[in-house]
């Protein structure tokens, strides 16, 4: 692929292919787009062969960690006499991440079909969708789609005459980022505070109700029906050798056309910007995240990094959720990192000391630096605290909190030092807003009014 390749060739809509059709959330429209064809093929297979097929397709988890989906399914012990559970992680809350919510809003049946396939493979008769609570429009669509699937015989007893049974419970969370961590999610689904569990045992051995459990991201499961319907050769023909397939890249921030761009794994940000109109007019890229705020930030030096698990990893970050948050030169990196850090401090569950105390102190330091009250040694202290959180916390939330600190200091240390030296933030927040340029185009904004708005 080259940067000059036309968009039609660069992109590969699969999950999003039906979104401009009439009522794409309905079963009727889903049927018109090969809906539930993958399930029919799956039910004709032996469950172990089905697991092998998904493994051979190379599908990797789309929720951030990139763990092979088929392998996760294979870890479930069979003939153990215990119930098995499938839990879909729809707690999409990582800052910048906005793929599962539009996917579920427009195409909920892709998830439901994938869940029936996965449940058949792992021998599960009761599956759950753990949806974050703050997205009622999506909850509404899921309630309706699950009801439709029951009515059509895709859920319930003896699905499509196969003798297979499956119930799906849609479960709304109640506002806690930490529940996106799979063991915290399981505790929450058991009616407890959402705090991560010590591993091992892993959920595959002792998950929900201490039974073997697969926890998969929405997009991972929703990708499965197409692999069944079109074959693993089709799937591996997309993407790269170690990161096969297609995925949703979410472009947001200071770009001309934010949105969902479904493409084979391995495209670059330069390619995505080229086809979509680039950074907003008159501005240039300053920093960006490849996969949400927990993935170390990149700069304009990283425009040609292949956005697959290996490429982003080799460049010092993580593919994460493919949440490409773009910030231009009007953005203060200290402000951005301060706000993310406040988020982590707010969402820290309090279970482990490095994360609970560390994020608190990071916020104190960052706020005073941003306000121009930083002191000599503050930057070293920031790095020291971040280092004491990273890898030393109970779960990945702590590692995520350290990422923006260390990566921003790696690339933008001079900007932090400028805050210390000038004893103020050198940026005007009004210039970074969506409406800043529109106003300027109409009439020059008097500086006083800008300050009021800031």
């Amino acid at each position: 692929m080259t940067a000059t390749e036309p968009a039609e060739k660069l992109l590969s809509p699969v999950l999003s292919a039906s979104w401009d059709d009439h009522r794409p959330w309905s079963l009727e429209t889903y049927h018109r787009h090969e809906g539930y064809q993958g399930l029919r093929k799956a039910l004709a297979m032996d469950p172990d062969a089905l697991i092998a097929l998904v493994k051979e397709s190379g599908l990797r988890g789309r929720g951030g960690a990139g763990f092979p989906t088929g392998l996760k399914w294979q870890f479930i012990p069979q003939n153990d006499g215990k119930p098995h559970y499938l839990v879909v992680n729809a707690d999409e809350s990582e800052p910048g991440t906005c793929k599962d919510i539009p996917l579920l809003f427009a195409n909920p049946h892709a998830l439901i079909e994938g869940m029936v396939i996965a449940s058949y493979a792992i021998r599960c008769e009761h599956a759950f969708i753990y949806l974050r609570g703050e997205v009622v429009p999506v909850l509404r669509r899921l309630h309706a789609a699950v009801a439709e699937a029951y009515q059509a015989g895709y859920l319930g007893r003896d699905i499509l005459g196969s003798g297979v049974d499956l119930d799906i419970t849609v479960h709304a969370g109640a506002g806690a980022y930490i529940c996106g961590e799979e063991t915290a999610l399981l505790d929450s689904l058991e009616g407890r505070r959402g705090q991560p569990r010590l591993r091992p045992p892993f959920p595959a051995i002792a998950g929900l109700y201490a039974c073997p459990t697969v926890v998969n991201n929405v997009e991972s499961i929703a990708s499965v029906p197409s692999i069944l319907a079109r074959g693993k050769e089709w799937f591996t023909s997309l993407g790269t050798e170690k990161s096969p397939g297609f995925t949703l890249y979410s472009l947001s921030g200071h770009v001309t056309n934010p949105g969902q761009y479904e493409a084979p794994l391995g495209v670059t940000l330069r390619q995505l910007l080229d086809i979509s109109g680039g950074v907003r007019s008159g501005h240039r890229l300053k920093f960006w995240t490849p996969g949400g705020s927990s993935t170390p930030m990149f700069t304009d030096e990283h425009l040609d990094v292949p956005l697959d698990y290996e490429g982003v990893g080799a460049a010092g970050s993580m593919l994460g959720t493919k949440a490409l948050q773009i910030f231009d030169e009007t953005t203060c990196v200290v402000r951005a990192v301060t706000r993310w850090t406040e988020f982590y401090a707010h969402e820290s569950c309090g279970k482990c000391t490095p994360c609970r105390e560390g994020t608190y102190w990071l916020v104190q330091l960052l706020k005073r630096i941003e306000a121009g009250a930083g002191e000599a040694g503050d930057l070293e202290k920031l790095l020291d605290i971040a280092d004491n959180i990273n890898g030393k916390s109970f779960c990945a939330l702590g590692d995520g909190a350290a990422s923006p600190i260390s990566s921003s200091l790696q690339y933008f240390r001079a900007e932090y030092e400028q805050h210390l030296a000038e004893r103020r933030c050198p940026f005007d927040p009004a210039a970074a807003t969506v409406w800043a340029d529109a106003k300027q185009a109409k009439a020059p904004q008097p500086a006083t009014e800008r300050e009021v708005h800031a």
Binding site: A7, E8, L11, P13, W19, D20, P24, E92, S93, E94, P95, G96, T97, C98, P102, A106, H126, G133, V136, P137, R140, H143, A144, T169, H171, A172, G173, A174, A176, L189, G191, R192, G194, S250, S252, G253, T256, N257, P258, G259, Q260, E262, A263, S276, G277, G278, S281, Q325, T331, R335, A336, R339, W340, F343, H346, C349, P429, A430, T433, W435
Partner: protein, 246 residues
Amino acid sequence: MNSTDLGLPALPAKPYPPEVHARLAVDAKELIARYPQARSALLPLLHLVQAEEGFVSATGIRFCAEQLELTTAEATAVATFYTMYRRRPAGEYHVGVCTNTLCAVLGGDQIFEELQEHLGIGNNETTEDGKLSIEHIECNAACDYAPVVMVNWEFFDNQTPQSAKQLVDDLRAGAEVRPTRGAKLCSFKQTARILSGFPDTREGANEESGAGGAPSLAGLRLAKGESLPGAPGARVVSPRAEGTEA
């Protein structure tokens, strides 16, 4: 309140009046039956009692605990962990302004500042008429529609300070307000009932606002050979200027 009671209500909390208790017990039974183990229904039950009173009261917690054979301490520990459960009465419309980094930078901070000034209330406060409460919220998974405002957890995308102020004025005036993604607004209590697990029964609610706005469709349009604004040969309107479409 004296200095030693920490503002905590007297225990044990009063039960619901018998008729309310009976009605909620039927709902609770249905929710509990959806799970292999009863305690899993605790979050749904907390949404259910919030739907009854608009917040999670000590009475509501007592009800949940009794249904699940937990202590009120156990139920309280869970209720206070999650930010969506309100601990005191608040507005009929709950306005959340995203001020996580991306929305904040793109204008969410300014929207939140101007809304507070416009309404004369601060973060987590309620207007005197009880109509609105306002809160800054964390990332709501709609960054491609930034800056984002949520009302009763329905999406109001691509907001400006002007549009957000108009929105709250309309809500206070009792005008019908429709989100860019989601259904015509219902009250916070009705929203909480949907969250507890009882589907929205309003006719057509599930059909409203289409499949998503221009950002959701951007990649698909390009893949079909259409162009986007600002990219060569633009044929579609800018997502920033366009509302949500069917």
